[in-house]
Structures are given as structure tokens and as C-alpha cells.
């Protein structure tokens, strides 16, 4: 059962995930209206506490909060305050004293959102921590697959790329497994974590074999700067062996879709053509991101320590 915070897909059971997806479907409808705003979180404050820069995820949370009429405050303590040797927890405590109703945290180090949640009254939503989890990304990916395929149970999903360093991969592996899908991962050996099969996935070092008969292919972003030279010889070689194009996609099942958490390195993870055209569904993922974050804010904002750990009521009227 859902707790006060959303720290990872790991903490959710299948029923929780289904409830968030169902809520997001209706939130998506709000996004289709002329007036894309409902009064649900009027007078509530959502703080985006981003220690690691991220334009896209932050904007997505900001739009989600605003569509629900919350006041959204963006706080990126990268420069000044941290240099003054203010600790992360001090920053978080200071914000908490301003009585926010939810704090969205991103940090480059795994486990920081949990540490912050331990000292806050407000619920914490993890917006990505190190190579640990990125739960709202997995939820929006699940929603996109559900909309495309009508169901998740029984599908086969291949995740391609730097699985070892990817919180997106981790959250998606856990999420798709909980929803009854078979998950495969494909990467050059240095990018596969040694214990990956303990997560219940099948590991491949050949993209082609991993694609055989799959319904969904999810490419991960390659951090060019960080990885060239140390993990693989060159971008060109990576793209030749693990970059996805229409020719390689033929090994997947007819009607297979292609996903990417963005931003895409065109011609590296995906061919130019695939980056922009179906069967890739990248912009649907972005759109669903706002709906998922609205659903998460609706379900979690306002929960408090103690009172918040119980499941929300479901009184009909």
C-alpha cells in the first residue's frame, strides 16, 4: 500500500500502480480541455527541490502542479547556498518550515530523497536520485504502453542501453515486472550490472537477439560525455551495434513501439527517422508525464507524517 511518500516503484504494489495510472487517464482529459486547470490543489504549495538540473522533468512537475491550481515554487540550490556549506538536510528543513504540501526532490546521489523524507513533515516525491529510481518516469512509460497496447500484462519489453547507470531502467524494470510484463535488457557487457538477473530480467549482449518478438523497445539515453572511452570505444560503434533503426526493429513483433525518456541523441540511440516518427511514441510519453505527475500530486500532496501513512479514503460522494 502507498505510504506518505513516493520514493520508488519498489514501494508500490500492483494495485497502487493501477490506481495511479487510472487517475492519470482522467488527468490527461483535463489536459485536453480549453481551460487546462481544475481547482483541486488551490491554496496548496508544491516545492520543486532540484539539486541536479533538469529542465524537462521540472517543467513537467511545474505544469502538473499548476493545472491542479497549486502554487509551485522552484528551488535549485546548486550555487549559492550549498557553497555556503549549508547541508542538504538544512535546506530541506528550511523549506519544510514554509509548510509545503509536497516536495519534489531530484538529486544526483541515490537515497537523498529518502533522507530528506525522513526529516520532513511534507510528503516527498522522488524525481530521480542517482542510479536508484525515477518513479514518475516509469509510471508515465507504463501509462504510454497501456494506452498503445491496451494492457501491460503478458507483453515483452526490451530496455536497451546503459542499464547499469540508469534509474529510468531500474524503475521501469521493477514497474513492468510488477505489472506482469516480461523484461529484457540489452547492452554492451560493461553497461549491464552484474546482478541484473536478480531483478527478474533476461540480459542480452546482442541487440538483435533481445528484440526477437518484443512488443516494446525502450532505448536509454547515452551520456556521451561521461561514457566514451571508458565504457565503449566510440559513439559510432555504439550506434552501429546498439542504436535502433528500422532495419533492426524488424526483429521485433509487428506493431512494436519504440520509447525513449528524452532527450534523444539522434543517430546514436535512435536513428533520425525513428526519433521523429512512429512507431516511436516519445511525445506521447512527454504528454503522459504531465498527467502522471498530476495524478501523483493529487494522490500524495497534503499527506502528513503520521496521518498520511494510511490509505486515502475512497468515499463515493
Amino acid at each position: 500500500m502507498m505510504g506518505r511518500d513516493l520514493l520508488g516503484i519498489e514501494d508500490l504494489d500492483r494495485e497502487d500502480i493501477e490506481k495511479i495510472l487510472e487517475t492519470a487517464v482522467h488527468m490527461g482529459e483535463v489536459g485536453q480541455r480549453d481551460v487546462k486547470k481544475v481547482p483541486t490543489l488551490r491554496g496548496r504549495t508544491v516545492v520543486n527541490l532540484f539539486f541536479e538540473s533538469s529542465t524537462r522533468t521540472r517543467a513537467s512537475f511545474e505544469i502538473a502542479g499548476k493545472r491542479l491550481s497549486a502554487d509551485v515554487v522552484n528551488f535549485s540550490p546548486s550555487g549559492s547556498s550549498l557553497k555556503k556549506s549549508e547541508s542538504i538536510l538544512d535546506t530541506a528543513r528550511t523549506l519544510d518550515a514554509m509548510d509545503p504540501d509536497a516536495v519534489v526532490v531530484r538529486h544526483g546521489v541515490a537515497g537523498v530523497p529518502k533522507r530528506i523524507a525522513d526529516v520532513l513533515d511534507a510528503p516527498v516525491i522522488n524525481a530521480g536520485d542517482g542510479a536508484h529510481e525515477h518513479p514518475t518516469q516509469a509510471l508515465l512509460d507504463l501509462l504510454t504502453v497501456q494506452q498503445e497496447k491496451g494492457h501491460i500484462d503478458g507483453l515483452t519489453v526490451t530496455i536497451v542501453g546503459d542499464v547499469a547507470h540508469s534509474r529510468v531502467a531500474r524503475s521501469n524494470i521493477v514497474g513492468f515486472r510488477k505489472m506482469g510484463a516480461e523484461v529484457r535488457v540489452a547492452a554492451p557487457p560493461p553497461m549491464l550490472p552484474a546482478d541484473v538477473e536478480t531483478l527478474g530480467v533476461k540480459a542480452f549482449t546482442s541487440l538483435r537477439e533481445s528484440l526477437d518478438g518484443v512488443d516494446v523497445v525502450m532505448a536509454l539515453r547515452i551520456q556521451n560525455e561521461r561514457l566514451v572511452g571508458s565504457w565503449f570505444p566510440s559513439v559510432r560503434e555504439y550506434s552501429a551495434t546498439f542504436g535502433l533503426d528500422r532495419a533492426k526493429l524488424r526483429y521485433a513483433r509487428d506493431g512494436a513501439i519504440v520509447m525513449h525518456p528524452g532527450p534523444v541523441n539522434r543517430g546514436v540511440e535512435l536513428s533520425h527517422d525513428l526519433a521523429d516518427h512512429r512507431p516511436s511514441v516519445i511525445l506521447d510519453q512527454v504528454r503522459n508525464g504531465v498527467a502522471i505527475r498530476m495524478a501523483v500530486l493529487y494522490l500524495f500532496a497534503g499527506r502528513r507524517r503520521g496521518a498520511g501513512s494510511s490509505a486515502p479514503d475512497e468515499v463515493a460522494r
Binding site: K19, E22, T23, H26, M27, E29, V30, R33, D34, V35, K37, V38, P39, T40, L41, G43, R44, L68, D101, Y298, L299, G302, R303, A307, G308, P312, D313, E314, V315, A316, R317
Partner: protein
């Protein structure tokens, strides 16, 4: 065991009879029936609006637009109570501007749902007028909301619950309005 069973106050036949009468009243009240727009409040309002639309077609040959408007995100008790009720679908196939919108709900009690529905409606446009159908009016108003069309007035105790059954996913189930005694439902 006294009073422990749900008490039926309106069966499907009675519901259809009441809605046929209401359809006549709607036509009587509205000189320009072509601008009518039935907007159902889920879940109970949905089958009722569908029946009303059929009645209006049979009586006057009207093809009335039918929409569905969930009021959950407009409720006034969400944050205060910590409740997070499940959302239901909203489908507004036509524009609201310059239409006479007839809201359709199954059971009206405090008037808070109708208040929420009116706020939601205004986010979709500026209707020429808003009228309200309540299949059952229980009384116990907490807001100054009056119904324009009532299927049946049913005096009830505050703790009791009045439910429209058969409005769920199974279309074969017949409609029935029942009163549940106070202990039988979670408040």
C-alpha cells in the same frame, strides 16, 4: 434485524416513468429545445441521462447531445478531509456556450455535488442557462441549490444512504433506487 435490509423506493419501471414525465417537463420549460444539452454526473447520472435522451427523441424527435462531467476534482472537501476519491470519466462532446445545460444526477442531498458540477461546467464555457434534474431529492440541503425537475421526493434520515443500483459497468442489470440504513454503509 429490523431495518437491516436495503429498502427499495423506485424500481426500473418507476424510474422510467419519472424520467418520461421529466422529459415532458423539460420540453414544456424550454422554448428552444434544440439548444438542450444533457450533462450527466457519474456514475448514477449516466444511465438516467441516456434514458432522458431517448424519451426526448420519442416525444419530440430531438437528437439531444449527452455529456458526462465528473465533479471529483471540484469537490470542496478534498484537501480538508484528506480523501482522494477515484476519478471518473469526463466526456463533453459538444461546446457548452449558448446551450441550455440540463445537469442530471441520481440522488441530490446537500447540493454540494451540484455546486461542484456548476463550477466544472463554467470551465467548459458559458451556458445560456443551467437546469438540474434529480431523480431522488432527499432534502438536507447545505447550499442554496434548488432542483428544476425531481423524480421523487424521499424524506430520509441524514445517516441513511440512498443509492442508484444498476448504474455500474453491467448494462444488463436493472436500475433500482434503494435506501440503506445508517449502519450499512461507511460514511
Amino acid at each position: 434485524m429490523r431495518d437491516s435490509n436495503p429498502r427499495s423506493i423506485l424500481d426500473e419501471k418507476g424510474i422510467r416513468r419519472a424520467l418520461t414525465r421529466i422529459a415532458h417537463e423539460i420540453l414544456e420549460r424550454n422554448e428552444a429545445p434544440d439548444v438542450l444539452y444533457l450533462v450527466a454526473i457519474p456514475n448514477g447520472g449516466v444511465p438516467l441521462a441516456r434514458i432522458l435522451a431517448t424519451c426526448l427523441d420519442e416525444i419530440a424527435g430531438l437528437d439531444v447531445a449527452v455529456g458526462v462531467l465528473d465533479t471529483t476534482l471540484y469537490r470542496d472537501d478534498l484537501m480538508q478531509s484528506g480523501k482522494r476519491p477515484p476519478l471518473r470519466r469526463t466526456e463533453m462532446p459538444s461546446a457548452v456556450d449558448e446551450r441550455v445545460v440540463v445537469l442530471v444526477d441520481d440522488v441530490v442531498k446537500t447540493g454540494r455535488t451540484i455546486r461542484a458540477a456548476m463550477d466544472a461546467l463554467m470551465d467548459f464555457g458559458r451556458p445560456r442557462a443551467v437546469q438540474v434534474v434529480g431523480l431522488v431529492d432527499r432534502g438536507h440541503r447545505e447550499l442554496p441549490i434548488k432542483l428544476d425537475y425531481v423524480g421523487k421526493n424521499v424524506p430520509t434520515q441524514v445517516g441513511e444512504a440512498v443509492r442508484l443500483r444498476g448504474a455500474g459497468a453491467d448494462p444488463g442489470e436493472s436500475l433500482e433506487v434503494v435506501v440503506l440504513p445508517a449502519e450499512e454503509h461507511a460514511a
